[in-house]
């Protein structure tokens, strides 16, 4: 690329304007590191340019240019980059899409929002609320982008109630620069008035882009399903002493199919959700709270008319009691935070990363029956490496959060091993080893899958499936310009 760098710069400038392109190191450094790369100690080269397009047409032009000059492209939607998914592993162009931040439509009738990648859950929620609607977040923080989240995964903290076709249709710039609209949006002319059905026109192409991490193209617009706000919406909280009955209760309740949202966590996680980063640093406050918290907790989101919510609550109480769970209550302020967390996309969710902000997440999507076991395994491995809580210096109690998928048939499990990110590489070694051990034992034995395609994990996939994934990649991106080189690439 170096040979014709100036030519490319000129062309890119002509597309996005001088102000929205930079090839200066200070502008590009922020795009080559995130928590993941830091912990893994992986060096990611500087890209050649950071480019901020404003329109789909500009994105198209850039992609065409990339094919012409064969440079890689790494798009990022709003750029909440924690796990190394959008780093420019092979240089080239970082496409920062945060200028594409239009909420094109919030349709009250179809209860959908048409958004660009730079729109965040928070903003979408705010605008939706104005029309009596709400978002159905995937579970990321409020400042993440629905488009970006869908590129990662479709897993949600929301129960089966809302899992249908959340990403309805989308408009993507393919690696060849053409625009592809999926679902009923694919109609040449009429599609513009009806992007509200996911499955028109044969194969479900919306699904192809979900979880693709940008490998198959750049989503420039997406129709996201919203939900109406029920007359009464309420979260109820139950505490358990043991994990196994807690998970059993969660499964039993989820099978009744009335909860709007559901999640389980251990007290270590709950404390982090509740306490702001500063308060949790105070050992006294933390201990006090932990003493009041049940060891494990289930949060259920209920919604409906007053009578309905009352009924659901009663049934939930009865069901949970069968497994020894009890409702619990904390101070109003604390409950307020937990309530926000239960609704997703809140600041409380950010608290779980704080204040250490070094977290080695053991993430898996697996049957709920394995959760207690792998929780024990993580605990044991953490003990083996004698990891310490960076706040208190006490032996580390890892954080556990369990989010059911579709009535608990499987769950999304996240276990956070907190560490102090200011430690140097040598000091981080035990944490790294611990994480590797966890993965080796859990992925291998339980078939736990990450939520994102990862080269290591792809080794565990059926070769025929990998072939389909990579074959599809070759087909739509023959020059391999999208996302090459990283752990998530499909080249």
């Amino acid at each position: 690329m170096a040979a014709n760098l100036e030519e490319i710069r000129g062309a890119l400038e002509a597309i996005v304007g001088r102000a929205n392109l930079s090839g200066d190191a200070p502008d590009m450094i922020p795009y080559i590191k995130d928590s993941y790369s830091t912990m893994m100690g992986r060096e990611v080269p500087l890209p050649d340019f950071v480019v901020m397009p404003k329109t789909a047409e500009e994105v198209q032009e850039i992609v065409k240019l990339a094919n012409q000059h064969l440079f890689p492209i790494y798009p990022r939607s709003f750029g909440v980059n924690i796990a190394g998914s959008a780093l420019p592993y092979a240089g080239g162009v970082v496409l920062d899409l945060k200028r594409m931040d239009r909420i094109i439509e919030i349709n009250e009738d179809t209860m959908t929002a048409t958004i660009e990648p730079g729109v965040t859950w928070g903003r979408l929620r705010k605008e939706a609320n104005k029309k009596g609607l709400d978002v159905i977040p995937i579970g990321g923080p409020y400042q993440t982008s629905p488009v970006g989240n869908h590129l990662l995964t479709n897993i949600t903290l929301y129960s089966s109630k809302y899992h249908c076709d959340r990403a309805v249709t989308l408009k993507a710039v393919l690696p060849n620069g053409e625009i592809l609209r999926t679902g009923s949006w694919a109609s040449a002319v009429g599609g513009e008035v009806n992007p509200y059905f996911r499955y028109a026109y044969g194969p479900d192409m919306t699904g192809m882009f979900r979880g693709s991490l940008g490998n198959y193209g750049i989503i420039v617009e997406m129709v996201e399903r919203l939900r109406p706000v029920a007359p009464v919406e309420k979260n109820v909280f139950f505490g358990f002493e043991e994990l196994a009955p807690c998970l059993k209760a969660m499964q039993a309740v989820e099978r009744l199919e009335f909860s709007r949202t559901c999640q389980a966590s251990n007290s270590s996680m709950t404390a982090h959700l509740i306490l702001s980063p500063h308060r949790i640093k105070d050992p006294e406050q933390r201990q006090k709270l932990l003493a009041r918290l049940p060891n494990y907790q289930i949060t259920l989101g209920l919604g409906g008319t007053e009578e309905m919510v009352a009924l659901f609550e009663r049934v939930a109480n009865e069901k949970i009691a069968e497994y020894g769970g009890k409702p619990f209550c904390l101070e109003p302020e604390e409950m307020a935070i937990l309530n926000q967390v239960a609704e997703g996309a809140s600041r409380g969710i950010m608290h779980m990363y704080a204040p250490c902000s070094g977290f080695a997440a053991v993430i898996g999507c697996l049957p709920i029956t394995h959760v207690a076991e792998i929780n024990g395994i993580v605990k044991q491995i953490v003990g083996k490496y004698d990891l310490r809580d960076p706040l208190s210096g006490e032996p580390l109690d890892h954080q556990l959060i369990v989010l059911p998928y579709d009535r608990c048939s499987t769950v999304y499990v996240e276990q956070e091993i907190l560490y102090d990110p200011a430690l140097d590489q040598a000091q981080l070694l035990p944490v790294m080893q611990c994480l590797r051990d966890c993965y080796a034992q859990i992925v291998g034995k339980y078939g736990a899958s990450h939520t994102i395609p990862n080269k290591t994990l792809m080794k565990n996939m059926l070769p025929s499936y990998v072939e389909l994934l990579t074959g599809f990649k070759k087909m739509v991106d023959p020059n391999n310009i999208m996302m090459p080189g990283g752990p998530y690439s499909l080249d």
């Binding site: 009738d109 179809t110 209860m111 959908t112 479709n154 897993i155 249908c164 076709d165 393919l174 053409e178 592809l180 609209r181 999926t182 009923s184 949006w185 109609s187 002319v189 009429g190 599609g191 008035v193 009806n194 509200y196 059905f197 499955y199 026109y201 044969g202 194969p203 479900d204 192409m205 699904g207 192809m208 882009f209 979900r210 979880g211 198959y216 399903r225 099978r255 009744l256 199919e257 409906g304 008319t305 049934v315 049957p367 009535r407 048939s409 499987t410 291998g444 078939g447 736990a448 899958s449 395609p453 990862n454 994990l457 792809m458 565990n460 996939m461 059926l462 499936y465 389909l468 087909m475």
Partner: protein, 481 residues
């Protein structure tokens, strides 16, 4: 006039070696029997192409072997399930007279029902009602298409219906695709691929619990593909605890305005007080709602019923006093069987303009297709026409006219006129005004859909098709790309 059709097939011997003599035939009468689908004449003109050979493989591996043979000679393949498609079956249009019709009838085993992970894995030739029955024995239910549950196979519905078909509870459940966890597919090259679940789950446990857990959702690509991306041989679905309470009701909503106001309010109510909702009326008659409520407890059912009734009542709804005819119409939409609404002798039933329409435009669309109907086939002997509108989740509706031709209109006549006049009008409506597409069913919808595809979409499909099917043997020409 008798059509000259070949009586032998160049791959007969080899296919016979794969599946055994009793599972392959080149008999003309047997081949012709596969060109029949419900209301066959109405959808698009006659019975169409006759396959050159019919094969009933018994295993995925046999399917793969047949597909590989077909690749060698570049012979078109048409997979077929139960043949319950109501708007003609795609093989009528695709391929040529050497077509290998792969009948999945023998792939009819339910392989696994797992109540812990709540999944069922079945071969693609399993009839949906069989699936439902077996699953219900374990206290669970599946979201399978309702009409015609007794004829359609898992593979046929997943391939032929947009979104893999609409379960009876479509108003709240979405399509079957939402409950599909993974597929085993014989690709057009003869390679076998297992989708779903992604990393780990494929190898370490025989369950496909997350479609997107490992990467892109490669499962969805095969849903609604009309069979052109491969032959499905196994599918895994999630199953659901059976809601014990089932309540059905009919409400007389009076005027169209009343119906629509209530319809909109119902669609915006959270949680849904119903699992199925249907608005319909006949000629100048009142609009009726048919609803189904499902719940896990009687109280939950009662509460939902109260909410639903309150909303209907608020907009002028009255408990309906309905005769047999209305019940029959209501049944037509909820019937688990296709034509159970008692056809008059010699009449022919079809859907006219059934389409997915954004909710706000549903009634406008209804007016448009009624006008189109008047204009194009209105002078034929029409015995009955029923307008209907059904919600799909909260965004779109399935709106259309249920049309019965009387004795004075023969099938051929109806077919010809629909084909010549009405279809064009419909295409215009969708390209110019409504987007989306007519019909959720396989057959005409797939055969015509490419006509309104955006060029880039067409390109994309062509690219995928070319890469997956270099010899273009699987349902060639289905999308006219």
């Amino acid at each position: 006039m008798p059509e000259a059709v070949p009586q032998t097939h160049e791959l007969y011997e080899e296919i016979r070696a794969v599946v055994g003599a009793e599972h392959v035939t080149v008999e003309e009468f047997a081949r012709r029997a596969y060109t029949r689908a419900p209301f066959y004449a109405v959808g698009g003109g006659g019975r169409g192409k006759i396959p050159g050979i019919v094969v009933r493989p018994g295993t995925t591996e046999e399917v793969a072997a047949v597909v590989k043979l077909a690749n060698r000679t570049k012979t078109p393949i048409v997979p077929k399930g139960g043949g319950g498609s109501v708007s003609t079956f795609p093989p009528l249009y695709v391929g040529d007279q050497s077509n290998i019709l792969v009948d999945t009838h023998r792939l009819n085993r339910i392989l696994d029902i797992d109540t812990t992970y709540m999944t069922v894995t079945a071969q693609s030739g399993v009839i949906l009602s069989q699936l439902a029955e077996e699953v219900s024995k374990h206290g669970f239910h599946t979201y399978t298409v309702d009409v015609p549950i007794h004829m359609d196979t898992v593979g046929g519905v997943l391939s032929g219906f947009l979104g893999g078909g609409e379960p009876s509870d479509m108003a709240t459940s979405g399509t079957m695709n939402n409950y599909l966890l993974g597929l085993k597919v014989v690709l057009p090259t003869g390679d076998i691929v297992q989708t779903g679940g992604g990393p780990g789950t494929n190898i370490h446990q025989p369950r496909f619990l997350h479609r997107e857990a490992g990467s892109s959702d490669m499962t969805g690509m095969f849903v609604g593909d009309g069979g052109s991306f491969g032959i499905k041989t196994e599918a895994t679905f999630s199953i659901h605890p059976y809601p014990k309470v089932f309540m059905l009701g009919i409400t007389d909503m009076g005027s169209r305005e009343n119906m629509w106001d209530a319809f909109r309010e119902l669609a915006a109510t959270d949680p849904y007080p119903y699992t199925r909702l249907l608005g319909f009326h006949q000629q100048d008659g009142p609009w009726y709602f048919v609803h189904v409520i499902r719940a896990h407890t009687p109280e939950e059912g009662e509460l939902k019923k109260n909410i639903l009734e309150k909303i209907c009542h608020k907009h002028g709804g009255q408990p309906a006093t309905v005769g047999r005819e209305i019940l029959q119409i209501a049944n037509m939409f909820s019937a688990r069987r296709l034509g159970q609404q008692a056809l008059p002798m010699g009449s022919t039933m079809t859907y006219f303009g059934e389409a997915l329409i954004p909710m706000p435009q549903s009634l406008e669309y209804l007016d448009d297709i009624n006008a189109l109907l008047d204009e194009t086939v209105g002078d034929l002997d029409i015995y009955k026409r029923i307008d209907f509108v059904v919600p799909y989740l909260r965004a779109t509706t399935i709106t259309g006219i249920l049309l019965y031709f009387g004795k004075g209109t023969t099938r051929d006549e109806a077919s010809q006129r629909l084909h010549e006049k009405a279809l064009g009008g419909m295409e215009r409506l969708f390209t110019e005004k409504y987007g989306g597409w007519t019909e959720t069913h396989q057959g005409t919808s797939l055969a015509h859909s490419a006509s309104v595809w955006a060029p880039s979409y067409k390109n994309f499909m062509r690219t995928i098709k070319k890469a997956l099917d270099p010899n273009d043997i699987m349902m060639p020409g289905l999308w006219r790309i």
